[in-house]
């Protein structure tokens, strides 16, 4: 019967043999495996596309860098030493923060930031500071105090005593609060013999360290000394004041991220930018550094209301 059908061209389609079924199953298995193995590389491509064309990795890095210059007194970062790692839909950013004490820069903190897309999900900060500022800023525990504020939590007299007792061969960092608001140029003239490193600028909220919404704010300001390191946001700046205002505007769209990166609990940038634009730049405090004796000599200046001692290092001062 079969022979007859074949002769007439009506051969039945051959039933799949065991070998054919095995080959088909193998093909299906390998096709599935191929597709599964494309998932991770494709996710990497999407991750890179996001950090190149979505929220740029450089934007996240620059925002973190700028906010630390503006919110952490006497801070410098070396972006060349930033470490950037990408994994699935996430980015790790780690870098060191430096402080100038005397004439030299010292590493004081190490930051490890972990972003999932542009969301900062984890931050680890290790500190080498010998005198750490309050972790949870309040209205009264800050180291730079506006003239309208009452007595701070630290004892300024004790700080002067500690300074007095230091060996002469040391250089110190000091947080000085003024009895009024001053222009930074005037402060530099008054505080001879020391480097004025960072000026805390009055933004209308420092009288009580509260924003109009009643949120506790912390000092913001800018580095005073010329900075020619090419990663510094103040490089080639003709006016650090104007650059400061410009940087505040640049980080404003990323205020949530900025708050998370800095030690501040609130930045209230819109309110503070508006105040500076209307009233200009006036400093109520500064971070200075210099030889112990030069800083100690400032004790009797009428200008200085309170002093909080920062880091102390062995002599490295050069004129």
């Amino acid at each position: 019967m079969n022979l007859g059908n074949e002769r007439n061209g009506f051969a039945k389609k051959a039933a799949p043999t065991g070998k054919t079924v095995t080959a088909s199953r193998l093909k299906l298995l390998l096709a599935t495996l191929s597709l599964a193995l494309l998932i991770v590389p494709t996710s990497y491509i999407l991750t890179f596309v996001f950090y190149a064309f979505g929220t740029k990795s450089t934007t996240l890095m620059d925002t973190a860098s700028k906010v630390l210059y503006l919110t952490e007194p006497n801070t410098a970062l070396e972006e060349l030493e930033f470490d950037m790692d990408f994994s699935l839909f996430s980015m790790d950013l780690s870098f060191d923060q430096y402080k100038q004490v005397g004439s030299e820069q010292y590493p004081v903190r190490h930051y490890d930031l972990h972003f999932v897309f542009d969301d900062l999900v984890d931050m680890d900060v290790s500190s080498d500071l010998e005198r750490t500022p309050p972790k949870y800023p309040t209205q009264t525990n800050q180291w730079l105090v506006h003239p309208a504020q009452g007595v701070p939590e630290f004892n300024s007299e004790q700080e002067w005593q500690v300074l007095e007792g230091l060996p002469d061969e040391t250089v110190v960092e000091a947080y000085v609060s003024f009895n009024d608001l001053y222009k930074v140029t005037d402060i530099r003239k008054e505080l001879q013999g020391t480097d004025v490193l960072w000026a805390a600028i009055y933004t209308g909220t420092e009288d009580e360290m509260l924003s109009t919404d009643g949120d506790v704010v912390s000092p913001i300001g800018y580095p005073v000394q010329p900075d020619q390191t090419y990663w510094s946001p103040f490089r080639d700046s003709m006016s650090h004041e104007e650059t400061f205002l410009q940087l505040l505007k640049e980080i404003e769209p990323y205020e949530d991220l900025s708050v998370e990166v800095s030690s501040h609990k609130n930045l209230e940038l819109k309110e503070r930018i508006a105040f500076i634009e209307e009233n200009g730049f006036a400093a109520y405090g500064a971070v200075i550094s210099g030889p112990k004796q030069e800083v100690g000599a400032l004790k009797d200046l009428e200008l200085i209301r309170y002093m909080k001692l920062g880091e102390v290092k062995l002599w490295n001062w050069t004129e």
Binding site: L33, S34, L37, V40, V49, A52, T58, E79, D85, F86
Partner: protein, 97 residues
């Protein structure tokens, strides 16, 4: 007749070789990416891609082995796309030398 059969089998072998090497390359790429460490695989990527493409192209000649060849070449093209994107976008997203 016998020569045709040898040709047929040879093209099939090249096709399967292209696919298997392609899948192996993808697996190694996954391991490299998930482990987070640079392995020697990334340095030899061009060699792997060349092998996949050459064996894939050979298998394209045979009618029955053509789908296997296309499959292997598809994997190679994906690896080329991946390498290119990671190289150029990596250059854009990491601003350091």
């Amino acid at each position: 007749m016998e020569l045709d059969r040898v040709k047929h089998i040879s093209f099939q072998v090249f096709g399967w070789f292209s696919v298997i090497i392609g899948i192996l390359a993808l697996a190694l790429l996954n391991i490299t990416l998930l482990s987070g460490y640079d392995s020697s695989f990334t340095n030899q990527m061009s060699l792997w891609i060349s092998v996949i493409i050459i064996s894939g192209l050979v298998s394209l000649v045979g009618k029955n082995s053509r789908p296997l060849g296309l499959w292997g070449i598809g994997i190679a093209l994906f690896l080329i796309l991946f390498t290119g994107v990671i190289f150029f976008l990596g250059w854009a997203i990491v601003p350091f030398p």
